[in-house]
């Protein structure tokens, strides 16, 4: 029997009401049955007073008196059911931070892309920026919701500690709320005012949105960095200087690190959105548009990702400067193996980002000469990845340890130290940068008169940077610790200098290039889009993991060295457990971001019309 959809549509609410009534009825019956009822007693007037009844009455009076006299006692902790307070706070904080990162990042590159569109007059950029910003409004609501959820959870589960943080940072809360209002104002005017104002006015709104968003992030960062590297308070926790409490050791490195990481993360999520739309596209035009959007999103993500390790170095340096104990707990103690997991993630990111670029060469006519370099780049990346993921000490049985002469492998152990790892990650960055340069050269030839000299100069800078990195890496094995620690700075400096100078030369070199082949947007294998989604998931998981180490590093301290964690959750869990929590949180995030994508895609749907089937 075929039931019409309209009939089903009518029956739906009726069924809903019937089910609601049934649930209420069942709840009433069950509650009524299980409710405690006093056993039947004869009315007082007819019952004889017995010593037992008098005793019961006296006990009742005593209990009531005690209850009335009970003083108010502030709870230090409350327990969250099943998973415990720490995991509950962890998951909510992580989801809040992931959405916050996305909401802060998208306006940054939407603003830059819109500015490029205004400067070049190319309407494609404006459309692209608008499409990116379409993801913002729902994400902003989710960020605020998770922020409120996190605040309530902190007040409920950790009331005493939350009270302490509020007492130290109370002057920062009002500006924070006011900035949040300003953020809402700028965000909604920026999105809904697209095309309604003069482009410069609209760009001004975008700038305001970014400034306010960064301000919000910096205020929130002061709270969490204070927990890790407190300053401006006495050894008992009394506030001495709010300025010092805000401007603690790790505040500025975290601000910079998060600012860059947010862009990388936001770019990867926006690229994943484009990938989903590409896969769902039905026309070549749509495919071309979303291929381009995915490319830009990924370009933003990887461009921000390349300098991220340098910001990470700075943060680690400040952690060591604040407390060697904290630094050594991070790199040599309970968390040292976490950095092997991090190496797997970052290695995968580099591999996937390069693979996407190499696949992208296929969409440019005449790219074949560059594709022959891919195998060498792949070999360099895999080698660096393997070195980076080599642990210093090997998990082994007692007999194996004896055979090796220690927990470090006699040969591979040399790759497990920082000299080797710093070298590997710097070469990895240079190799990825080389992939970018090759991709940029597909389909065009430099036409300036000094092209040959320019190319030679770029190659020389590249080779010099690689030489400095490898030389200092090897040199590090032959010097004392005090010298070796300082070698990472010139290594990083050489790579940064190379990237900046080569890019500067490249801009002038390809100012008016001679085109040798057209870019055929949309002509890329579907697997490339899955690579973009893989990159987004890996970025998200990496953020979850590094968020855990930043917070977990305090171990049994709420505020390191000042306010001790006396709750049942004060222990540091195993890395296996931590990665399980991160995985579940990442899955929850992608379920929610799927919802954001779906809401954003409703914009393209035709309006519902009367007479249209359900």
């Amino acid at each position: 029997m075929v039931v019409s959809r309209k009939l089903l549509f009518l029956l739906g609410p009726v069924a809903g009401i019937v089910m609601f009534i049934a649930v209420v009825w069942m709840a009433t019956v069950f509650v009524g049955r299980n409710e405690y009822k006093d056993p039947y007693r004869a009315p007082a007037a007819t019952a004889d007073s017995t010593p037992r009844a008098e005793g019961v009455a006296a006990e009742k009076d005593e209990a009531e008196k005690k209850a009335q006299e009970k003083p108010y006692a502030e709870a230090e902790y409350r327990r969250f059911p099943v998973v415990g307070s720490r995991v509950a706070i962890w998951a909510v904080a992580q989801l809040h931070l992931l959405f916050a990162a996305f909401v802060l990042a998208v306006p940054i590159f939407a603003f830059i892309i819109e500015a490029i569109g205004y400067k070049t007059g190319d309407p494609r950029y404006d459309r692209l920026a608008h499409e990116f910003s379409r993801l913002l409004s729902v994400s902003f609501s989710l960020t605020a919701t998770f922020g409120a959820f996190l605040t309530f959870m902190l007040i409920i589960l950790y009331p005493k500690f939350t009270n302490y943080l509020m007492s130290v940072f109370s002057p920062t809360f009002l500006p924070y709320v006011l900035l949040f209002f300003a953020e809402a104002f700028f965000l909604y005017t920026y999105y809904y005012g697209w095309g309604k104002f003069h482009p410069l006015v609209h760009l001004g709104l975008g700038l305001g949105l970014n400034v306010v968003g960064t301000g919000i992030m910096m205020i929130a960062n002061s709270w969490l960095t204070f927990m890790m590297s407190p300053s401006g308070v006495s050894s008992k926790g009394a506030l001495i200087s709010l300025t010092d409490a805000i401007y603690n050791y790790t505040w500025m490195p975290i601000n910079v690190h998060r600012f860059i990481a947010n862009i990388a993360f936001g770019g990867s999520i926006a690229a994943a959105y484009a990938a989903v739309k590409f896969l769902q596209a039905e026309t070549d035009e749509e495919r071309a548009h979303y291929d381009w959007m995915g490319y830009i999103g990924n370009f933003v993500a990887i461009s921000a990702f390349l300098p991220l390790p340098f910001a990470g170095y700075w943060l680690a340096k400040e952690i060591y400067a604040y407390s060697q104990t904290l630094g050594l707990t991070m790199m040599g103690g309970a968390f040292s193996w976490l950095f092997i997991i991090q190496a797997v993630l970052i290695g995968n990111l580099f591999l996937a980002a390069n693979y996407y670029l190499w696949l992208g060469m296929g969409r440019v006519e005449g790219a074949q000469p560059f594709q022959r370099f891919v195998k060498y780049l792949l070999a360099a990346i895999v080698l660096c990845f393997m070195i980076w993921a080599t642990p210093r000490s090997i998990i082994a049985t007692v007999s194996e340890v004896r055979a090796m002469g220690g927990s470090a492998h006699p040969v591979l152990g040399f790759l497990g130290v920082m000299s080797a790892k710093n070298t590997a990650v710097n070469i990895l960055i240079l190799t990825t940068f080389m992939s970018f340069l090759l991709y940029r050269r597909t389909g065009k030839v430099a036409s300036v008169t000094w092209a040959k000299t320019g190319h030679a100069l770029q190659l020389s800078i590249f080779a010099a940077a690689a030489f400095v990195v490898i030389f200092l890496g090897v040199y590090g094995y032959f010097v004392e610790a005090s010298v070796r620690i300082g070698l990472s700075v010139p290594q990083v400096g050489a790579v940064l200098l190379a990237m900046v100078s080569i890019t500067a030369i490249d801009i002038f070199l390809f100012r008016k290039p001679r085109n040798t082949g057209a870019v055929r947007w949309g002509r890329i294998p579907a697997i490339s889009q899955y690579v973009l989604i893989f990159i987004a998931v890996t970025f998200t998981w990496l953020m979850g993991l590094m968020g855990y180490v930043r917070s977990g590093l305090r171990q049994h301290w709420h505020v390191y060295g000042i306010i001790r964690d006396n709750s049942p959750d004060a222990f540091t869990p195993t890395l296996g457990f931590a990665t399980e929590v991160v995985s579940v949180t990442v899955l929850a995030f992608f379920l929610l971001i799927g919802f954001v994508f779906w809401i954003a895609s409703l914009h393209d749907r035709p309006d519902f019309e009367r007479g249209q089937s359900l």
């Binding site: 060697q324 797997v344 899955y530 171990q555 991160v582």
Partner: protein, 176 residues
């Protein structure tokens, strides 16, 4: 049959997170409990203090996060093998007990050549060893190349005792 893209994307997200979760299970698993408070009885003998000091170094003191015993090569912090021998002669005028106490209460006062400053003040947060716990640690350190001499009544300049003993003072006992 063609698998819809949404199913493939879901499977990719699930497989990627599961893979990283699996990688997390492959590394050594260690749950770190907050350091227990070590109750030090007032009647501990010097011999009793040695194992207590060893236990404090491995736990609450966090000493072995940085220091090693009997390891050579590219080290970030000084190895403690034979430390008592060096402690007796490292700073003229300081006994081994005074020197070891100084290295814990005032770690930047003397930096071993080839290493950077980095030792935290052991009597302050976050480690916060008590004076008596530090004496136990000294007792253990004295066994590394020497014979323990400290008792719980040993005083030095950091626990209410006198200033550093004059040059030529008898090594080993600390100021009493």
């Amino acid at each position: 049959m063609t698998v819809p893209h949404s199913v493939r994307i879901g499977a990719l997200v699930l497989a990627t997170t599961a893979f990283y979760g699996y990688v997390g299970q492959l590394v050594p698993q260690k749950e770190v409990q907050p350091p227990p408070e070590v109750a030090i009885r007032s009647d501990l003998t010097t011999a009793d203090m040695v194992p207590v000091g060893r236990e404090i170094m491995a736990g609450k003191g966090l000493c072995f996060t940085c220091h090693t015993i009997g390891k050579t090569g590219a080290l970030r912090f000084p190895d403690l093998e034979g430390v008592d021998v060096r402690a007796k002669s490292r700073i003229p005028g300081l006994s081994d007990v005074e020197y070891l106490a100084q290295s814990m209460y005032e770690p930047d006062a003397y930096i071993v050549q080839g290493f950077n400053p980095g030792m935290p003040h052991i009597n302050q947060p976050p480690i916060s060893l008590t004076d008596q716990e530090i004496l136990c640690v000294i007792a253990y350190l004295q066994t590394l190349g020497g014979t323990p001499t400290v008792t719980l009544r040993t005083t030095h300049r950091y626990n209410g005792g006198t200033a550093a003993p004059a040059p030529g003072a008898a090594p080993g006992g600390g100021a009493r």
